[in-house]
Structures are given as structure tokens and as C-alpha cells.
């Protein structure tokens, strides 16, 4: 089935492309500076947070997509995707935390935090939509 590109979906895709580009640039800068010991003290805090900002921007873009989408069926698919993604992320993180609490897996997350699993959950939500509604939706 062809993907439906409403004007809201096109705006979401453009925003996503911009935010992901900014994310890669900020991540590269932050990693390079920390690895080469170019930053320390109070400046390290905003630099460490900088790559998180475009990721937070993606959450904003998804919420704007829900608000701006005029097609009620497509909007429902996006909301379902987000609900599945939230449930998936919370489930994975909760299980992971308990495994860490009982020292069955190592501490730390190796760079795979809640946002990573939420975005993975969007993919799971798309599959769920495809199976139950016949179409995946336009997120992820």
C-alpha cells in the first residue's frame, strides 16, 4: 500500500531531516571535544546536553504532526504508534533496570537510552497498525 504523504506528513519529514542533521553535527562535536579533553568544568554540562536537544526536538515534531494532521484516520494511526512506542520503551527500560538492580546485566546503557527504544517502538507501532488496520501510518 502506498504511503500517504499529507502536507502535515511532509512537514514532519522535513523537520525530522533537519533535526537529525543537527543531532549528528552536535554529537560529532561533543564526542570529539570530550575525547580530546578540550572541555571541562561548567562548559561540559551544556556541551553534553547539546546532542539531546534535537532528539527532544523530534518528540516536539511528532506532537506537532499529531496536532497538524487533518486526516482523522491517519492521526489515529500516529497516536496508536506513539502509544505502542511508549509502552514498548517503558517495558524495555523497566525490565532492563530490574536486571541491573539484581546485577544480572552490566550497569550503564552503552548509549542506548529511552529515546532509542521509543523510536524503535514507533517501528513496532507501525507493524501493529499494519496488522490491525491494514496500513502502517506515516511515522517511522
Amino acid at each position: 500500500m502506498a504511503v500517504c504523504w499529507t502536507s502535515a506528513a511532509k512537514r514532519y519529514t522535513r523537520r525530522l531531516a533537519v533535526l537529525m542533521t543537527v543531532y549528528l553535527i552536535l554529537l560529532f562535536i561533543a564526542v570529539w571535544l570530550f575525547r580530546h579533553d578540550q572541555v571541562s568544568g561548567p562548559l561540559a554540562w551544556p556541551l553534553a546536553i547539546a546532542p539531546a536537544l534535537p532528539v527532544i526536538g523530534v518528540f516536539w515534531a511528532v506532537m506537532r504532526f499529531i496536532v497538524e494532521e487533518k486526516d482523522e484516520f491517519i492521526r489515529m494511526l500516529i497516536v496508536r504508534q506513539c502509544l505502542v512506542a511508549t509502552g514498548f520503551c517503558l517495558t524495555v527500560m523497566t525490565i532492563w533496570e530490574f536486571l541491573q538492580n539484581f546485577e544480572l546485566v552490566a550497569q550503564g546503557n552503552g548509549g542506548f537510552g529511552a529515546a532509542f527504544f521509543w523510536f524503535m517502538g514507533l517501528g513496532v507501532g507501525a507493524i501493529y497498525n499494519k496488522i490491525t488496520m491494514g496500513t502502517a501510518g506515516t511515522l517511522a
Binding site: M1, E72, F73, I74, M133, G134, T135
Partner: protein, 63 residues
């Protein structure tokens, strides 16, 4: 909720895309409504009724 969208569309020789364009929604929306996977909101049901020139209850019926 049952509906007569497919029959009404066939009577007018409209494709799903034709109806979607008239309703200003995606073809996926028309397909989901037609196959009973999605029940439209009341405003969209009124728009569907207007496009076919019928009352809502002539298009949608209880299961």
C-alpha cells in the same frame, strides 16, 4: 458499524481515490472506513453523507 460505502461508490463508478479526493482525506481512510476497520467521526460521517447526497443513516447502520 456497517456501511454501504462500497455499493454507493460502485453505483457512481467512483474509485476509492475519487471519494477520498471529494472528502479531502487519504485513500487509506476511505479503505479503512469501507472495510469496517475504522468508524468515522460524526463530522466526517456528515461529509460522506453530503458527498453522496444521502442521510447518514442511509449509509451507516448498526451491526
Amino acid at each position: 458499524m456497517k456501511n454501504r460505502l462500497k455499493v454507493l461508490r460502485a453505483e457512481r463508478d467512483w474509485s476509492q481515490q475519487d471519494l477520498a479526493t471529494a472528502l479531502e482525506v487519504s485513500r487509506q481512510s476511505v479503505n479503512a472506513i469501507e472495510t469496517g476497520r475504522y468508524d468515522p467521526s460524526l463530522p466526517l460521517a456528515f461529509r460522506i453523507a453530503d458527498v453522496f447526497g444521502l442521510a447518514i443513516e442511509e449509509i451507516f447502520q448498526r451491526d
